[in-house]
Symmetry: C2
Subunit: 215 residues, 2 copies
DNA sequence: CAATTAAATTATCAATCGTTAATATTTTGC
DNA sequence: GCAAAATATTAACGATTGATAATTTAATTG
């Protein structure tokens, strides 16, 4: 992570440490969960002492939310660009593949999103991911009613339920792929980030979407 | 849970409490994770004091594994019956729907399975779920080579990777549905356990399998 | 019913958790 | 370069964690 690309505008020492903290925290939270990760581990992973964390984040919870925020931002941005740019139906069918590319750069985030979705309802992490899903849902519904590409039964509740099930399925398929890294290594003796396998997964995603659209 | 059906053979008081402990632990572990759940919570949920737990389970870890074991057993059994009974290809395509019915009786188990799959590799919980997935994989591979229903490229590694991706996708689709209970309630204003929605999910599962088979 | 075993309780433990206070050390901006 | 601000450290805190010992209560069995 850390994204110290060419856009790295002269950042102060403190900002640099903050990024390193976020890097370490993202890996640890993803692999061990929120409760399973201690601030001691994060501090050690960053190479500083525990109380130094508090110069950058007010609490463990705040740090966790910052991790989620930083990870969710690229997704939200890609989604926004995709929607604002061209909202033909075909573009929506490409979203999972785009998300797959984004997650490929930070595979741990998939675990964090799933964990956040299952956390208690009033946690900010849960709300962040939920809001993102809702936006996808709204856009999906809009595009469907606009193009009538899927069974419009006339009953809005039924249509909503069907759409939600499809959306949730695509979400689980897309993120779940990255959650199954170890299982895949055991079963197929390969790596999930291998371009061949990414291509397979994208083909599968397209196939599933197509199957959904023919109702 | 507790399964105090008609098959409840005269169980001693201790065995009865052990089941109640497992019930409480399963709910708590599923909703809060292993580290997020304390033995105090489990004891309180059972209606006993904390050290009394140790009369039934040697440690927190042992209790956790017992929960997984009890939850995984019905799945493994259904899988075994299905395989031994009739191993026509069609039966394999019905497995996800069968698993959906089983999970419907104990929706929390879906979260436990996913958590176990992501836990550290040498934990027994992880190994239990992994072994179960491996069995599914082996059976799937056997049935595919037997019936040649899917692209047999001649390259075993490639076939394995493709099969693993499909299997993992079905696993994530099937369990993920139950993990998205809250998201579904928010989006579609309905409940995932509603028979209509279960029917929708099963139709989706079938559609996806069919899409997989036409390669 | 009585004796034995099983199961529950109270009290307590060391270890670890997130967090704060007080202080020392760098970085930063003029 | 020097003052001010930012960032780090050491030391310690109350709370909670999983677990044990000693003991009392309840259940099982002959």
């Amino acid at each position: 992570m850390s994204d110290t690309g060419m856009t790295a505008k002269r950042q102060t020492k403190g900002e640099k440490t903050a990024q390193r903290i976020l890097d370490a925290a993202a890996d640890l939270f993803a692999s061990q969960g929120y409760d399973g990760t201690s601030l001691r581990q994060i501090a050690q992973g960053t190479g500083i002492t525990e109380p130094a964390l508090y110069n950058h984040f007010a609490s463990k919870q705040a740090l966790y939310e910052a991790v989620l925020h930083r990870g969710l931002n690229p997704m939200a941005q890609a989604l926004a660009e995709h929607i604002d740019g061209a909202s033909r139906l075909r573009d929506y069918t490409e979203l999972p593949a785009i998300m797959t590319d984004l997650l490929l750069e930070h595979p741990q985030m998939a675990a964090l999103f799933q964990q956040a979705m299952q956390g208690d309802a009033n946690s900010l992490g849960t709300q962040l991911v939920a809001a993102w899903l809702e936006r996808l849902f709204d856009e999906g519904r809009r595009s469907l009613t606009r193009y009538g590409a899927v069974a419009n039964s006339g009953d809005r509740d039924q249509d909503n339920a069907a759409l939600a099930i499809n959306l949730i399925a695509m979400f689980n398929l897309t993120t779940g792929y990255f959650l199954s890294q170890r299982a895949f290594a055991t079963l197929a003796n390969g790596n999930i980030t291998d371009p061949d396998n990414i291509a397979r997964q994208k083909r599968l995603l397209h196939k599933v979407i197509r199957a959904m659209l023919v109702s």
